[in-house]
């Protein structure tokens, strides 16, 4: 068994879901996503046992493109994140009715397929194909099942689509240039390339444009808040929980090792950009009226910190970034789900229109509070482990980076608690608010359990990702 199994499961799942009809679709999709989760856990076991689960087959001879899937610790960690979040996301949508559900769930699985492929691909072009494939389902999900005015939604989604696509084209150009140099798209060959500083700078920038838009790093973030707001919550979860991580993962996997000289040379600029994102995102989040938009900006702040950690080029920074990616993936999915739960009952996303939920549904409030606290990186949640490591690595580069990046601790608490206060506390809103249902509760508990467990015992993840990050660092520091 190798890693392609999980891709096959997801792809077949997507088709089976589509053909299973509207009524069964959600259950079939959940089944397949769980199968993928099981499969990824089995693969993780095999990997830990030292088994080789990578795949390399030649695919197209001219130009030389291979079907290469490389599963190292980093890739597997991200695959696990995807595989764990997909069932949660699918399950969280059980309370909603979607028209044409078969297509909806099929697209979700297809997107999981593409994203998993992106995390595993070890061939530049294959990676690019998966990267772009992931864009297609989310485009339709946001466009067809989104909310709000159809015209505005179309505008936001098309902007997102073209924006990310345009960024990716630069990446494709970079890959083609690399191919002319290396004669192969295989990642090992690209790692071995000895490019001049100037070439590296251009390649670095081309990659950066693609990733900065995807992650997003300011000032390339303008698509984010609108799309998060307009997309259905499932789409938002997929976008923020997993798809953002594609960009961050790619920074570690492709950008830094291929253009290490440029990365080292201009490190400070990119760290500063990431940190600017932290501060900017936090400040903008303070005065958002829409719950989903607020969460979008908080996401901007958090990924800014992750990106800054990645660009420190230290083991701590990389490790912290990966842990924070995973933690953020879970927490943001949980928070968006909470927004969805509120929307199911109140039919609004306006923060001002909410309030007093705590009196009526203590369970939901507790879960929401835990997620909020995880999001502001309270110690004993996994987010703290990640954020601490990232901030520590930043402090090793320059103490000011740590101080400025650390403002997320203050500002994050400010906007999250402010939001919590207005959404949950205060006088009881006249609308009744039923407490979480069993289905909703299961999703929340799963997320919270992951966050708390790894918050106290992050060692499994550290052990999983450290060797591959060390390899990447070796490539970065080869000359």
């Amino acid at each position: 068994m190798n890693v392609s199994t999980i891709l096959i499961i997801l792809l077949i799942g997507a088709f089976v879901t589509y053909f299973s009809g509207d009524k069964l679709a959600s259950k079939v999709a959940l089944l397949f996503s769980l199968a993928a989760l099981v499969c990824s856990i089995v693969l993780l076991n095999n990997y830990s046992a030292g088994e080789n689960i990578s795949v390399i087959n030649s695919w197209i001879t001219q130009p030389k493109i291979s079907f290469a899937l490389n599963a190292d610790g980093l890739g597997l960690a991200m695959v696990l994140l995807t595989a764990a979040l997909t069932p949660i996301i699918i399950f969280s949508s059980f309370g909603n009715e979607y028209k044409n559900a078969k297509a909806f769930y099929g697209l979700i699985l297809f997107m999981a397929f593409a994203m998993t492929g992106t995390f595993l691909a070890a061939d530049g072009l294959l990676y690019y194909i998966f990267w772009e494939l992931a864009l297609i389902p989310i485009y339709f999900i946001a466009l067809i099942w989104g909310n709000g005015d159809a015209e505005e939604r179309r505008k936001a989604v098309v902007k997102f689509f073209i924006y990310t696509l345009a960024g990716s084209l630069f990446m494709l150009t970079a890959f083609i240039y690399l191919y002319t140099k290396a004669g192969s798209f295989l990642i090992e060959d690209l790692y071995k390339l000895d490019l001049s500083a100037c070439e590296q700078l251009w390649i670095f920038l081309a990659f950066f444009l693609a990733y900065a838009i995807k992650i997003p790093i300011i000032p390339f973030h303008t698509w984010q808040a609108n799309v998060y707001q307009k997309a259905p919550t499932v789409g938002t979860m997929l976008l923020s929980g997993i798809m953002l991580k594609m960009g961050l993962y790619s920074v570690l996997r492709w950008q830094l090792p291929i253009a290490p000289l440029a990365a080292k040379e201009y490190m400070n600029i990119f760290i500063a950009l990431g940190i600017a994102g932290v501060i900017y995102g936090s400040i903008v989040a303070l005065r958002q009226k829409d719950l989903k938009k607020l969460l979008a900006y908080s996401s901007l702040a958090h990924v800014g910190l992750i990106a800054a950690g990645s660009y420190t080029l230290t083991l701590d920074g990389l490790r912290g970034a990966v842990m924070q990616m995973i933690a953020h993936g879970f927490v943001v999915v949980g928070l968006f789900f909470a927004a969805e739960v509120i929307y199911r009952r109140f039919e609004t996303r306006e923060i001002e229109a909410m309030g007093g939920i705590r009196t009526q549904s203590p369970k939901f409030t507790s879960m929401f509070l835990i997620l909020v606290l995880a999001s502001v990186a309270l110690p004993s949640t996994f987010n703290f482990v990640g954020e601490f490591t990232v901030l520590y690595s930043l402090s090793q580069v320059n103490i000011w980076f740590a101080i400025l990046g650390g403002t997320t601790i203050i500002l994050g608490a400010y906007y999250m608690l402010r939001m919590f206060q207005h959404v949950m506390l205060g006088e009881t809103n006249s609308k009744t608010f039923a407490d979480v249902s069993l289905n909703e509760g299961i999703s929340f508990v799963a997320i919270i359990a992951v966050l708390l467990f790894f918050g106290f015992y992050p060692k499994p993840i550290t052990d999983l990702i450290t060797p591959s990050l060390e390899t990447i660092l070796q490539v970065i520091n080869k000359n």
Binding site: K159, I162, Y163, P219, H221, T222, A225, N226, Y280, I283, V284, A285, L286, R287, Q288, T314, L315, D316, R319, G356, R358, T359, P362, S366, L373, L378, P379, S380, V385, F388, T389, L391, Y392, S393, S395, Q396, I399, A402, I403, G406, T407, I409, I410, L411, A413, Y414, L417, R418, Q421, M424, L425, G426, E427, T428, F456, Y457, P458, K459, T462, T466
Partner: protein
């Protein structure tokens, strides 16, 4: 064995928390309260066992559970260190904690969310224990943030009132400002010494030959900022008075006795770092002195009974930092302990009063309660005497030690501290006279319902009053048990016991006289002349400034909060839309190019063909001729 003890110590409150969270509602109020109390009491018993063990062996216990966070040059364990300092802290945290839990069973009995209250209290105790017994700074940080969280939850316990929620939020965020400082301090220490573990750090610092003293000072300063946040020192003190929005037992436990002393704990814990940063030490001393004075002045005119106590707490914490600034850690610890006793007693007493008056907190509407609430009165009187520094009560010894230390190091700071003490005596007795003497000034209905609180409330009061009376015995001048007990912790030779000479006796006399003077003024003003503080709108002049807390909140609001908020609005309304427009502009440019390019398409086939031929010529001649 040690591991198990430590685990029982930590996990019982957590267990109590979990039980109360999941089953509290179905268990009923009394049971859930009992569970909460017993959980903390068990921890107290364990603490006693540990204390016994440590006093007999004289050695600390280290427990390592497992690796927690791995950072390249740091390996952070989830481990516990039970030594003299942490066990001492444990004793009064769990001891006073148990009493306050007991008190709360009665106090909170009318609240529908009582099980929640107890679960939060238990969670607080859990985090406080973690804070105290953590073997490294990061474990301390878990507790540090955790108690902040519990403080947030408990201040905003009556969550329907958004003002309370604002207070809770404010407390959390101000604490977080300090936490950032603490984190940065940790980063600097971590990168300097590659460890955050206390024991290793101590040896590393002792063994280090050429330390970058400015970097170390920076680290110490950052750590002190952390302490400022938690222990409500200038400039991060404004949250503590607001935190009185929480139920009174919370104010007693968290905002007087335990959590706010975490800063002092941390500084004492890292005494070896602060000893090397002498400039930071003077900063600490100055800030402590200023805080004590400022808070005391504000306390002079407050009319809310809990606010008076809150400013008194800030002031007393300032005195403790004053001691810390002089390197007199054991003195600060001594005052922490005595303060915990009498301040907890005062708060619980005020709680009893508030309970008796059904929520009335304004002293202008009290008075004459001496007869109806004798136990409350006597216990509070004892505690007030203790805090005022009347001889032979616990506060006398500890405060005197602080002032003595200050006198030896810096006369101006000594003066500041003394003035603050005199003011303390004044406002405490102002509180006593307004609350318990003369006639009752409340409504008839309140008067009708006046009664002494139940035994669950009075027993803790009595115990605490006894402790407040005799607590000073642990560190009598000249024969300090506490100094001996804590001695292994400190690298520098301690100030030692002050030699009791003429200076010392004079100073003591001055302090006592000052205290009595404060009491006398209060007596004259509020008993003899029968003054009652004016209504809010009639307050003028200096009192108005004091009454409005020097407008610090307003200043902070104008200087920090409002700019951030308007910046946020500006970003949201202009920068965001601007950036968005910029991206759209790219699309618009493409559109415009297309629109202009459209004009080239005249539709005239003749022109197309002509251009086509020209193009053909160009291509052919390029291929064949231009080689």
């Amino acid at each position: 064995m040690d591991t198990n003890l430590a685990l029982i110590l930590v996990l019982t409150p957590l267990l109590g928390f979990l039980v109360n969270v999941f089953f509290g509602k179905s268990l009923g109020k009394t049971v859930s309260g009992a569970i909460g109390t017993i959980a903390v009491a068990i921890s107290f018993v364990v603490s006693l066992l540990l204390f016994n063990q440590i006093t007999s062996t004289g050695k600390g216990i280290e427990v390592t559970l497992f690796d927690w966070i791995q950072i390249s040059n740091l390996k952070i364990n989830l481990g516990f260190l039970l030594d003299q300092l942490s066990v001492l802290w444990l004793l009064f945290v769990t001891g006073i904690g148990s009493l306050i839990h007991l008190y709360s069973i009665s106090y909170m009995h009318d609240d529908e969310n009582m099980h929640k209250f107890f679960s939060y209290l238990n969670l607080f105790v859990f985090f406080m224990i973690t804070l105290v017994i953590g073997s490294n700074l990061l474990v301390l940080f878990i507790g540090w943030e955790g108690v902040g969280l519990c403080s947030y939850l408990l201040i905003g316990f009556w969550h329907k009132n958004q003002d309370y929620n604002d207070a809770a939020k404010k407390a959390f965020i101000m604490n977080r400002i300090g936490d950032l400082g603490l984190l940065i301090g940790m980063f600097i220490i971590g990168s300097m010494f590659s460890t955050l573990d206390y024991a290793t750090l101590k040896t590393a610092i002792a063994g280090a030959s050429n330390l970058d003293s400015s970097l170390l000072s920076l680290a110490a300063l950052c750590l002190f900022i952390g302490a400022c946040g938690k222990s409500a020192q200038i400039p991060l003190y404004t949250w503590l008075p607001d935190a009185m929005a929480g139920p009174t037992p919370v104010s007693a436990l968290i905002h007087a006795a335990t959590m706010v002393t975490a800063g002092i704990f941390m500084v004492t814990r890292l005494n070896f770092v602060f000893d090397l940063a002498t400039d930071v030490q003077s900063v600490i001393a100055i800030i402590g002195a200023i805080t004590s004075l400022v808070a005391a002045t504000i306390g002079l005119v407050q009319n809310d009974i809990k606010k008076v106590l809150a400013y008194s707490t800030v002031s007393q914490l300032g005195l403790m930092f004053l001691a810390l600034g002089f390197g007199a850690y054991e003195v600060a610890v001594f005052h922490v302990i005595t303060h915990a006793f009498f301040k907890a007693c005062l708060f619980l007493g005020s709680g009893s009063v508030i309970h008796g008056l059904h929520g009335e907190q304004d002293m202008r509407n009290m008075g004459g309660l001496r007869k109806v609430m004798p136990i409350t009165f006597w216990t509070m009187l004892i505690s007030s005497l203790a805090i005022s520094g009347v001889p032979f009560f616990s506060g006398f010894f500890s405060k005197d030690e602080i002032l003595l230390t200050a006198f030896h190091h810096s006369i101006p700071l000594y003066v500041v501290g003394s003035v603050a003490s005199i003011m303390t005596a004044f406002y405490m007795f102002r509180l006593m006279f307004l609350t318990f003497f003369k006639e009752f000034r409340g409504t008839e209905e309140q008067k009708h319902h006046l009664h002494e609180s139940g035994s669950l409330i009075t027993i803790p009061l009595i115990i605490l009053a006894i402790l407040a009376t005799f607590g000073g015995l642990i560190s009598l001048p000249g024969h300090s048990w506490l100094n001996k007990y804590l001695a292994p912790l400190f690298t520098k030779a301690t100030e030692g016991e002050h030699h009791l000479g003429t200076t010392e006796y004079t100073l003591m006399g001055v302090a006592v006289l000052g205290g009595l003077l404060g009491i006398l003024i209060a007596y004259v003003k509020y008993f003899k002349q029968d003054n009652v503080p004016e209504a809010d709108e009639n307050i003028t002049g200096l009192s108005k400034v004091l009454y409005n807390k020097y407008y610090v909140d307003e200043v902070y609001d104008a200087v920090f909060v409002a700019p951030v908020n308007s910046l946020s609005k500006f970003f949201r309304d202009y920068i965001e839309t601007g950036l968005s427009a910029l991206v759209f502009a790219l699309g618009k440019i493409a559109n415009e190019i297309a629109f202009q390019g459209k004009k080239l398409q005249t539709g005239s086939i003749g022109l197309y063909l002509f251009v086509f031929v020209l193009g053909l010529c160009a291509i052919v001649s390029y291929i064949f001729l231009a080689q």
